[in-house]
Point group: C2
Chain length 351, copies 2
Amino acid sequence: MFKVKVLNQEVIKKTLGMKQVIEGVEKVYTLKAEKRAHVWPMIFHEFEPGVADMDIKSGYLKDADIYGLKLVSWYGENPKKDLPPLIGTTLLFNMKTGAPMGLLSAEHITGMRTGAAGAIGAKYLANKDAENFLMVGTGHQAPFQIAAILMAMENIKTVRLYDPLNFEKAKELEGNIKGLLKEEFLQYYKEDEETYNALKKKFNVAFEAVEDLEDAVKKSEVITTATPSRKPMIMKEWVKPGTHISCVGADMSGKQEIDENIFGVAKVIVDDVNQATNVGETEMPIKKGIIDESHIIGEIGEVMLGNIKGRTSESDITVYDSTGIALQDLMISNLAIHIAKEKNIGEEILL
Amino acid sequence: MFKVKVLNQEVIKKTLGMKQVIEGVEKVYTLKAEKRAHVWPMIFHEFEPGVADMDIKSGYLKDADIYGLKLVSWYGENPKKDLPPLIGTTLLFNMKTGAPMGLLSAEHITGMRTGAAGAIGAKYLANKDAENFLMVGTGHQAPFQIAAILMAMENIKTVRLYDPLNFEKAKELEGNIKGLLKEEFLQYYKEDEETYNALKKKFNVAFEAVEDLEDAVKKSEVITTATPSRKPMIMKEWVKPGTHISCVGADMSGKQEIDENIFGVAKVIVDDVNQATNVGETEMPIKKGIIDESHIIGEIGEVMLGNIKGRTSESDITVYDSTGIALQDLMISNLAIHIAKEKNIGEEILL
């Protein structure tokens, strides 16, 4: 029998700090670029169109010696039964022996790794001296994105919050965000004084809910979009030279957050070319003929390794299309298991 | 959070009786024939050819309201590390909500459902008055096949045991099989006097290790092959009219247990046409041009539903090609979870 660590959401929150998650996702990007990590074909099934579906994403990470899968189901009617519509489960295996090693709830890890991914795009593509960050979308993902950006960037002074549907939601986040950052992201480091103080300082920026997206875009050097939008919100004319945009929301065909014409003038970097062109923000600019695939400079891991250049001038407009890859979930799940073992938290079962 | 039942091998042995497993596998066959159960594409990856691989088989069963997957890894060098070469893990979900409901060790369930599958082939295709059963292969699978056949058939009086590599192994099984049947299959029913006594009577047959396969085949009306063989062991000339053969061993391309010419004169029924023709015993007869796919009468579920006829005369030779389908694992895993809950055994975790 094998010892399998079981980590539910409550335990996972105690295991993961955003700093390590950013490092973990960076590692995934470079492993992928070095072809030491691979995804297997996705399985997708619609039980009832528009009502219930599920997908299984799987793959392996050679250096981390793990393989596994994340199964995510979406049941639109679940909230009526007091259940979450999205449910994710990750199963992890030891690649040296094939033994099962972990069963994890996937939601918090998805939130963390998605936040890290958007921030890594900014870290490697935005101008280092960027001071103004605009968060488009004030839902579940927003605090993850904001925390990660503030950690990954050095000079952010103002964070503007825009909600495409409801200004009140942006106002509400403006009121809550300092508390959320403290509770959900800073507290984790409370026993590591140096990191705690450094992050406390980084989190101490101005937050401002905004109603006028055009004005906010014009004032920002770094923008992240994390919405379920199906039509462009940010227009090309509003984007000033030097701006970086991390597009995080688009993860299935038909989703779009920014004007496809931005792609025509931007340096475009993606997490995975295949996913970006099929289900990411890059899908529409290609479908509408604004760019073809050759316009994509490459994958972020290649930029990190120095194999390709992302930004080459202060005035470049850069776009990072983050579609999210299963390998991120596997890497961060593995990290959570290691930390849970160290901290002696979470259940261990014999399977 | 969701309550997820965790069942390891020790617990699973306490939950499953072969009688219910046979009923469960029968249900899978008929659901499949009614197109109320589906398998999704298999994911297969060879980490190192001939050394380590893994596959993920998944699907759903509509009436049982479950979906899920079985991940099986094979690491040929594991025994050197005192680990099993084959490791299987099953993850089960509620199809009404998408919630995870069970994590199970897959080995014992695979053994049970494979035994049931071979026996169901005999039950629906062999002559009812068959008295002589020949078990070809005396490895891990043999006791499962023997127990299931003795339960599913009414008139077996003699069980002959043949091992293609080592007569001593057959002799050893001859010495152990009564004890194994009692411990592993009869004891489960110790609190159900009626079933216990009925099975005790059914298990009370003669067991005989044999060295001469030709002679044994000629004396048998029902034969099951469960070996990893890659060349035919049973020749067409030895098979008398009326014989039924359940071929259970072939589950990947290149495996073969019986003379391909038997297919030319037999009525051939399979569990899944696609798998049987690609990785089952039916692969070779087709590749060698003895039959084409149209020679396959159909799937066992269709026979059970009465949509097609398997055996139509006492003198027919029938072949059942059982390749094993993931839906069997899901159905029996679901059964194990239900029984474990009833018996209040096995762990329950919050995920």
